[in-house]
Amino acid sequence: MEIRVNPTRMELTRLKKRLKVAQRGHKLLKDKQDELIKKFIDLVKKNKELREEVEKELTSAFNNFVMARAVMSGEILEESLMYPVGKVDIDIARKNIMSVITPVIKVKQQDEEQKKNIYSYGFANTSGELDNAINILSGILPKLLELAEVEKTCQLMAAEIEKTRRRVNALEHIMIPQMIEKIKYITMKLDENERGNLTRLMKIKEMVMVEGSV
């Protein structure tokens, strides 16, 4: 690889300083990456548990839905659900994990009266299986929101980990070796100059001595 750098002492000092910064940065980033991965693994575990739980309940809700769909015509089912009554207020705050901004979703508790009234349809020509499905769905909403929070956090963390790893690798495998190479090149060049100078001096000294003796 061609090294394009001015072989001067000033450049050398500058490079040495930069190398120090790069090494320090590399160490810090590496620590950050390790910590991120540790947190990430915890989160992913939690995510998996939550997801399995939610999926289990969703499956039973959907089973109820399918059965409700079977006993009611599609039009009646859709009419029953077209105008939802349940309302949930959520608050989204931010949390900083290792400089990753992650969302925190908080569900504002519904009052009792509202909880009872999650059914948006009359009972005369709908099936009780629909009640079950709606009830389950309404029950898992907080969990679903938590899952959304954890999953989004995981995504953001994963992106951050990837970014950090790229930086660490760039520092470790490209920046730092290159700088070391450059420093070596300058040192060698300078040494070479030094040696050339020394030889030149010795040669001149010899010439002066020969002249003097004549």
Binding site: A70, V71, E79, N117, F123, A124, N125, G128
Partner: protein, 334 residues
């Protein structure tokens, strides 16, 4: 009461059509079919085959069912020369459409796909009436219902109440039509249906923990069972309610169906038993040679059949095991 022989021609025609209703055998074959396509093929061999023209995929099977119902209405209209019988079936669809249109009006969105074309009132007429809040073009029952629902919604903003008001008005209109037809059998049949619906409403209200005021609103008038019976039982355990019903004709429905709700929390069995009970009543039509029983019996049988086919098809499309489907299957008329 009009003469028993008033609809003699219609009854004989229906007697002939009764033989074409799906038999248990066909239903078993549909149930045993390996896929939705196979089940549909079995159905295609029956009388439904003639309605298969517009069918593009198995998911469109409801179109077939709707066009079949349309045909049935036409046959009954033509043979009785009296639109009041199908009126009783069509009113339900009209009220359904009214619900959809009122709700979509308030949501400000368009929900054309979920209206049905089986009603007596053309969809455009109804859509225009709802949009312009001028219900004079609608039949009086629908007009009254729409006005009440709109007024209530402006005040309460609760879409469930739209359904509840329209359901109540629907059955009031049905009852009026039944009275108008003048045959005791029609009225009796309707009252039985109302009772069964009220039992269902009661059980579900109790299950979701709503209060007596809600129940009173939701219950349908003109049933044989008094509304107060339900309201008084709301705060008692379901077991007591079963005992109360044990003296009535609904003893079996209550003992098995409501007990299942107590045991499993699922209304599946209760709903099936209710439908079967109603069909049992309708079956009287099979053994009467005169009167209106065969007409209402046939209508009910056809609607029941459509329900059975829907359960099987939805089950097959979603790969639900046969025994789960069977649990929900209604009895058959023939």
């Amino acid at each position: 009461m009009p003469s028993d022989t008033k609809y003699l021609y219609a009854v004989s025609r229906i007697k002939a059509l009764e033989t074409k209703l799906l038999s248990r055998n066909v239903i078993e074959r549909m149930l045993d079919a390996s896929s939705a396509d196979e089940a549909l093929k079995v159905l295609g061999e029956t009388d439904y085959g003639t309605s298969f023209g517009e069918l593009e995929s198995v998911y469109d099977f409801e179109k077939v069912l709707n066009s079949e119902l349309k045909k049935v209405y036409k046959v009954i209209d033509d043979s009785t020369r009296d639109s009041r019988f199908t009126q009783m079936a069509k009113l339900r669809h009209d009220f359904h459409n009214l619900k959809v249109m009122l709700k979509s009006e308030y949501l400000g969105e368009n929900y054309e796909g979920i209206t049905v074309e089986l009603g007596a009132v053309p969809l455009e007429t109804m859509a225009r009436a709802v949009r312009e809040k001028d219900y004079t073009e609608l039949p009086s029952a629908l007009k009254k219902a729409a006005e009440e629902a709109v007024m209530d919604f402006e005040f309460n903003r609760d879409p469930q109440r739209i359904d509840i008001i329209l359901d109540r008005q629907l059955f009031a209109a049905l009852y009026k039509t039944a009275e108008d037809i003048g045959f005791e059998a029609v009225k009796k049949f309707l009252a039985t249906e109302i009772d069964l619906i009220n039992i269902n409403i009661f059980v579900r209200t109790k299950r979701i923990g709503q209060d007596a005021r809600f129940l009173e609103n939701a219950l349908i008038d003109n049933g044989n069972l008094d509304k107060s019976l339900f309201i008084e039982s709301l705060n008692e355990p379901l077991g007591t309610f079963i005992d109360k019903l044990s003296m009535s004709v609904y003893e079996e429905v209550a003992r098995e169906g409501i007990q299942a709700v107590v045991d499993t929390g699922s209304t599946t069995l209760l709903e099936k038993l209710s439908d079967d009970f109603l069909l049992d009543q309708a079956k009287k039509g099979k053994f009467t040679a005169f009167g209106v029983e065969p007409i209402i019996g046939y209508l009910r049988a056809k609607e029941n059949e459509v329900k059975i086919i829907r359960i099987i098809m939805v089950g097959k499309i979603n790969n639900i095991p046969s025994d789960k489907i069977r649990e929900r299957l209604r009895d058959v008329y023939v």
